[in-house]
């Protein structure tokens, strides 16, 4: 089957600090990949580069997404093409309500597909349906985007947004951090409901417990800007038992 994403020898830096030092990663439709790695190893850097954050400079290598040169695409073009990043630290946007934010996003996506914008009633119906995926209270929709949301509520809001945009490649950067046990299950079930044979997920996590709900096809260990080990689900348990010392 054709690759959805192909990262080859990716090097990237912020300022003059090199963070990614030759990443290779291939993802096919229908796959779930997990990335684990020490704090500061470069997981969020990789996510940010995939989403198009211009604070990072790619110095070498390539990223091909659906046969296109991803690095040439703007963040919004990547979103329209089906890439979604669940932020490790979701951003607060005071004054822009959740409902305005998401309706604008959904309608921009529709515009790209040549579809007319959703009416207010159609939008509300879709929104209620997807909020139910993550058991989010509809009252959140009238609040400023992530403003005053608790850590766990912000993460749920990320999964809600993902459900609204039905991405082809979703990167979830520590979406499980800060969630209580019930929220973890709810969020994981939300992800599982969105899974199809055509889309793929990259789940970044520090904990094996998430993988009890979302079963990965492969687990990668990122160490100092390189993927140093790739194996099946059992690698997660191994990392949790022994830490990262063996990769020194």
């Amino acid at each position: 089957m054709e690759n959805l994403l192909e990262i080859k020898n990716l090097h990237a830096r912020i300022g003059d600090k090199e963070i990614l030092k030759g990443i290779n990663l291939t993802i096919k439709p229908g796959e779930v990949h997990t990335i684990m790695g020490r704090n500061g190893s470069g997981k969020s850097t990789l996510s940010a580069i995939l989403a198009g954050n211009s604070n990072y400079t790619v110095t070498q290598g390539s990223i091909t997404y659906q046969g296109r040169d991803l690095l040439k695409m703007s963040p919004e073009e990547r979103s329209w093409a089906g890439i979604f990043l669940g932020f490790q630290y979701p951003v607060e946007i005071p004054g822009v309500t959740n409902v305005n934010f998401m309706r604008t996003a959904v309608n921009e996506h529709r515009k790209q597909k040549g579809l007319p914008p959703l009416s207010a009633a159609e939008y509300l119906k879709l929104m209620r349906e997807k909020m139910a995926y993550v058991e989010m209270d509809p009252s959140f929709s009238s609040r400023g985007v992530n403003v005053g949301f608790s850590g766990g509520e912000k993460k749920r809001n990320e999964v809600f947004q993902m459900a609204m945009l039905s991405p082809l490649l979703a990167i979830l950067d520590e979406t499980d951090s800060g969630l209580d046990v019930d929220a973890l299950r709810i969020v994981a079930n939300g992800v599982n409901r969105l899974k199809t044979k055509d889309n793929a997920f990259v789940v970044i996590t520090h904990y094996q417990r998430l993988l009890d709900y979302i079963v990965p096809d492969v687990v990668h260990v990122l160490y100092k800007g390189r993927i140093v080990k790739t194996a099946g689900k059992e690698l997660a348990a191994e990392v949790e038992a022994h830490g990262y010392d063996e990769f020194e």
């Binding site: 989403a51 198009g52 954050n53 211009s54 703007s74 963040p75 919004e76 990547r78 979103s79 329209w80 979604f84 990043l85 932020f87 979701p90 951003v91 607060e92 946007i93 005071p94 004054g95 822009v96 305005n100 934010f101 998401m102 604008t104 996003a105 921009e108 996506h109 790209q112 400023g144 985007v145 947004q161 945009l165």
Partner: protein
């Protein structure tokens, strides 16, 4: 009411926002169309008081210009929206005077729309006097939407007496060089004054706002919120002074001026300050000038919101705090829509008419 049914002779007055049920007044170069100018003494907004600790007599304002003897007089009706459509035809209006008086308990609403009739240079000098007393609550919206060559200097003189309330929103959608000078006197117990302003500037526009607000009675409340969105080479200058006299015990006074600088070349200066001669008061003031946050922008773009749309969302959010203060729903919606179109760089001409009034 006579003027309600009055149909103006000139085609130029045809432009009006369709505000259903509004009573309309038409003013032609400072002169009412179909009604006489009224002779009236100037509204006294001065206050003077002893400050014992300083052995001094303070007078606010220090000086006020004389006003023309005659004015366009507006006596709003309880519960009905009054719209004053003021058209400028000759290029220079030296002194227009509008007087709004509410004296009885109840809710009143007035919208002042001033507009020019062409693209040449217009210069306007006007005084708007507002007197609210007898338990009246007045909502006043002043719309400013003129071409970029125009110069508009307005003096707002406001007097709010016991148990009465004034909420004024100045919305400057577009203009060349605007100076809004506001002098407000809270002269009776439990009087309230809300002053809100929103100014959208681009190109070489300059907007000056100068507020003096005097609390000269106990238990009064004042809240000021002025917000500007500045792009191009535009400039905004804000000076605000809140004075609490020794009579102003249990005063609550807030003043804020926040500017969003959308371009690198826009500049905002802000000087809010408080002068307090009473001891039992709650007052605060502040100002900020910020630019659009990069993180917010990236977050929105990562959801497929294009950069230009994301900037408009942020600017609308910034403006919302002022627009929310307009109590009449039909007016608030109308203004929000005009602001959005203005932020999108579209003409702020309403669909129903051919000219850029409000």
């Amino acid at each position: 009411m006579e003027e309600f049914r009055y149909i103006p002779k000139s085609e130029l007055f045809k432009c009006s926002v369709d505000l259903p049920g509004a009573r309309k007044f038409f003013v032609w170069d400072g002169v009412p169309d179909g009604l006489p100018l009224k002779e009236a003494p100037a509204l006294d907004v001065s206050a003077s008081f002893e400050v014992s600790s300083r052995m001094e007599r303070m007078v606010y304002p220090v000086s006020l210009e004389d006003v023309p003897q005659k004015a366009v007089e507006i006596i709003p009706e309880e519960g009905t929206l009054t719209q004053v459509i003021s058209v400028r035809v000759s290029p220079s209006l030296v002194f227009g005077r509008v007087r709004i008086v509410c004296q009885k308990p109840g809710n009143y609403a007035v919208v002042l729309c001033s507009h020019t009739t062409g693209q040449e240079r217009f210069s306007t000098r006007e005084i708007v006097e507002v007197s609210v007393s007898g338990g009246a609550r007045l909502d006043l919206v002043a719309m400013q939407n003129e071409n970029s060559l125009s110069a508009h200097k307005s003096d707002f003189r406001l007097k709010i007496e016991e148990d009465s309330s004034l909420k004024m929103n100045i919305i400057t959608l577009h203009a060349g060089n605007v100076s809004n000078r506001i002098h407000s006197l809270l002269s009776g117990k439990k009087a309230e004054c809300w002053l809100n302003g929103l100014y959208l500037e681009d190109g070489e526009q300059i907007i000056d706002t100068d507020v003096t607000l005097v609390h000269n009675a106990p238990e009064c409340l004042s809240r000021q919120l002025f917000k500007g969105i500045l792009s191009g080479h535009s400039r905004s200058r804000f000076t605000g002074e809140v004075v609490v006299s020794p009579a102003g015990q249990k005063t609550e006074a807030y003043q804020a001026n926040n500017n969003l600088l959308v371009s690198d070349d826009a500049r905002a200066s802000s000087d809010p300050h408080l002068v307090i001669y009473a001891d039992d008061v709650k007052c605060s003031h502040g100002s900020t000038a910020g630019s659009v946050g990069d993180q917010e922008l990236f977050y929105m773009r990562s959801r497929g919101i294009s950069e230009s749309e994301a900037r408009i969302l942020q600017q609308q959010a910034f403006a919302a705090a002022v627009l929310e203060q307009v109590s009449r729903e039909e007016l608030r919606e109308r203004l929000s829509c005009l602001v959005e179109r203005r932020l999108r760089g579209e003409n702020t001409v309403c669909a129903a008419c051919g000219r850029g009034c409000c």
